[in-house]
């Protein structure tokens, strides 16, 4: 009963938004500027995917075959950008690569022309910053999935690295790379915060940025609706394609544990070291720059920081609670009895984006209330909806294991209802629930999407507040507020994850 109602609710929210967009689109003809936005969206997403993957392949290979102090920590740190607020990274990238940054200072001493961080190159750079670590971790998984016996056999046959690449590593890459590239492409299609801060103008506007401008500045609701519909169609097509592309590589089973294999020496070793160092610098410098710029300002934060932080934390907590409950209900129902349409409902939000849902809700609510009055509840609902597919996928295997291991015992003892939730479900799923809640809270904390559409002059969340400070070129204050934002985001993640661990004592 509850799972069905929930599935219907999600479907109604997304399909209802789409229907609303279709109703409100006054003209079906895209203007030249709209076509430019479509082209730019696809171009920046494609470039970002290719570059991220192109760098991730040698990086993952280097991390796979080299052993060095801090390797484990580095691999763990590659997961951190996933919950890093986009606006913070952008601030760091602007600090390092911007006009007054060290890169341009170096160029200037050599009398070279300055590079601008704004426009296509900046958008792609920021996308690579977020997606290179993601791609590297996914590929590293692929490398580790190749049984170590194969590498041992290759070594015993005296295969040079090039032959290993051809016979062992390329088949894995062929199986995994297209799916990874598509995942990154989809993420970059909807990277509104990056386009908002680093894009802009007629030559570097994404569809989402055009939606934002149509809604907020031109009050052209029909055009916003049409653009949102176009964005929805592109994302839906990409998601549909991605769902067919996840092919696991077939290498047969391997029993071996990780075995330190001899890695090639000479120029290959120096090359690997250089690559790892460059990537570490690329990822660390922007964050260090924000820290250096922001630390002094922490003592004199602008007065708006704490109210904005409070708004963000309430939205984050509420949306984490909502999405964890929804994902739990759906995953438990799915584990009990597989249902195709519930699965579809849980995955449907993948096709939507923050701005698309936001536009749909904006158009639905506007006849009845002032959008800024509902800015926080709408942001909470949209954030919860968009994180649902991730949490659902996180919980589903655990819910299935719980069902197959303990359902019979629990029913034979008559354990049901609240007692079952308290003594079986929650303790057994505490770990993924805590991790998932942390992820959802941190993602929501750092989100800069739908709030930009709805917020009034005084209702900004912390990421929006940082972006506004950046827009006003108050960079030191922006950096200080960004530090507060990062601190709260990771603290939320850490606290929920700890709670999960605490209750999962087996």
């Amino acid at each position: 009963m509850l799972p069905k109602a929930l599935g219907l609710g999600i479907a109604a929210l997304i399909l209802g938004s789409a229907a609303m967009l279709g109703l409100r689109a006054e003209s079906w003809a895209l203007r030249p500027a709209d076509w430019a936005a479509v082209r730019f969206t696809l171009l920046q997403a494609a470039l970002s995917a290719v570059l991220s993957l192109g760098l991730a392949v040698p990086l993952a290979r280097a991390l796979f075959r080299r052993r060095f102090v801090g390797r484990g920590a580095l691999i763990r740190l590659l997961a951190a950008p996933f919950v890093l607020p986009v606006v913070v990274a952008v601030l760091g990238i602007v600090t390092v690569f911007g006009r007054a940054g060290p890169i341009n200072a170096v160029l200037e001493t050599f009398h070279l022309p300055a590079v601008s961080i704004f426009g296509l190159q900046g958008v792609v750079l920021a996308n690579v910053f977020f997606n290179l670590p993601l791609a590297t971790r996914m590929l590293l998984h692929g490398w580790q999935a190749i049984p170590v016996e194969r590498f041992r056999l290759a070594a015993s046959l005296g295969m040079p690295p090039s032959a290993q690449l051809r016979h062992l590593e390329l088949p894995m890459l062929r199986a995994q790379a297209p799916a990874i590239a598509l995942v990154i492409f989809l993420i970059c299609l909807a990277s509104f915060a990056i386009a908002l801060t680093l894009g802009g103008g007629p030559r570097a506007s994404t569809i989402e940025l055009a939606i934002y401008q149509a809604l907020r500045f031109e009050f052209d609701l029909g055009r916003a609706a049409l653009l949102a519909l176009v964005q929805l169609l592109i994302c839906a097509a990409g998601t549909l394609l991605a769902s067919r592309l996840t092919l696991p590589p077939s290498f047969g089973a391997g029993l071996g544990r990780s075995l330190d294999l001899p890695a090639p020496h000479g120029w290959r070793r120096r090359g690997d070291a250089l690559l790892i160092l460059m990537v570490v610098l690329f990822l660390a410098l922007p964050l260090l720059a924000v820290a250096a710029k922001g630390l002094p300002g922490l003592l004199a934060l602008p007065s708006g920081v704490w109210p904005a932080a409070l708004r963000s934390v309430s939205v984050a907590l509420a949306s984490a609670l909502l999405v964890v409950l929804a994902a739990l209900v759906l995953a438990l129902a799915q584990a009990r009895r597989a249902s195709g349409w519930l699965e579809l409902a849980a995955m449907l939000p993948l096709a939507a984006s923050s701005l698309v849902l936001g536009t749909g809700l904006f158009l639905m609510l506007r006849p009845f209330v002032a959008p800024q009055a509902l800015a926080l509840p709408v942001t909470m609902l949209v954030n919860a909806t968009l994180t649902l597919p991730y949490l659902y996928r996180l919980l589903l295997p655990e819910a299935r294991a719980l069902h197959s291991d303990y359902d019979r015992l629990a029913s034979s003892l008559g354990l049901r209802g609240m007692a079952r939730l308290r003594y079986l479900t929650l303790p057994r799923l505490a770990r993924p629930l805590g991790y998932g809640a942390g992820l959802a809270a941190a993602l929501s904390m750092g989100d800069l999407g739908v709030i930009a559409l709805f917020a009034g002059n005084s209702g900004a969340t912390l990421p929006l507040f940082v972006q506004q400070l950046m827009g006003a070129y108050r960079m030191d204050q922006a950096a200080a507020a960004a530090l507060v934002l990062v601190g709260i985001s990771y603290a939320l993640f850490w606290v929920f994850d700890r709670i999960g661990h605490h209750y999962a004592d087996t």
Binding site: R408, L409, S411, L413, D505, T506
Partner: protein, 231 residues
């Protein structure tokens, strides 16, 4: 009395028929080749598999309407008989109150049951801190607390060594006697049947035969049993 009335179980291409009764307090072993449907029969009686046709009755009352936990029986599975995240005392307490709200008297009963199966003072431990034999004892202690008139076991001691297993069978006998329960136990070991059960049900070739005197059955095995025993 447990009655299987023209019972027909069906799972895909698998079929099993049974039409017989078990007297209250009886000890019945269920043996037969693997894949013949011993466990399936037990799971149907326990309520995990609805019959395709026929009825399962207890004292003349159809069990079909009763949820698994409300049936007049305790079940011991092959494995996963204890929740690993709960203490032994909590695992036992679930046998008295599925809400785990225990009265002081019930707490005392849990402690007494632990003592009776030789686990005195281990109530605060988690199952992982117990040996395999001790985990079996804890599961039997919970059956003792539940005190249902039927005890259904699906080879719960198969993984134990011979000495430990015979110890468990003795304890099972004690628990069943204390609660007056009839026992229906699946085993693949003919020695278990001969040692423990007065009657034996042979499951083979799609039929669960009515219970026979164990001694008589093994003295003069029908062809299906002879084939299984390899005699």
């Amino acid at each position: 009395m447990l009655t299987l009335e023209a019972l027909h179980l069906s799972q895909g291409s698998f079929d099993l028929r049974a039409d017989w009764s078990v007297q209250a307090g009886a000890r019945v072993a269920v043996i037969g080749p693997s894949g013949a449907g011993k466990s399936t029969l037990l799971m149907a009686i326990a309520g995990f598999l609805p019959p395709a046709r026929g009825r399962i009755l207890w004292q003349g009352r159809d069990l079909a309407a009763l949820a698994v936990g409300d049936r007049p029986m305790s079940v011991l599975f092959q494995d996963q008989n204890l929740f690993p995240h709960l203490t032994i005392a909590q695992n036992l307490g679930l046998g008295l109150s599925p809400q785990l709200r225990l009265t002081p008297a019930q707490r005392d009963a849990v402690e007494a049951a632990l003592q009776r199966v030789g686990l005195a003072g281990m109530g605060a431990r988690k199952p992982a801190q117990l040996s395999g034999g001790q985990q079996g004892r804890a599961a039997l202690a919970r059956a003792l607390l539940r005190a249902r008139p039927l005890l259904v076991l699906d080879e719960p001691f198969a993984a134990l060594g011979p000495a430990l297993k015979s110890e468990m069978l003795d304890l099972l006998d004690e628990v069943a006697s204390a609660t007056g329960a009839a026992v229906l136990m699946v085993t693949h070991d003919p020695a278990d049947a001969q040692r423990f059960a007065g009657q034996t049900v042979l499951v083979a070739e799609g039929v669960a035969q009515p219970p026979c005197e164990t001694a008589a059955l093994f003295a003069n095995p029908p062809p299906a049993l002879a084939a299984y025993l390899g005699t």
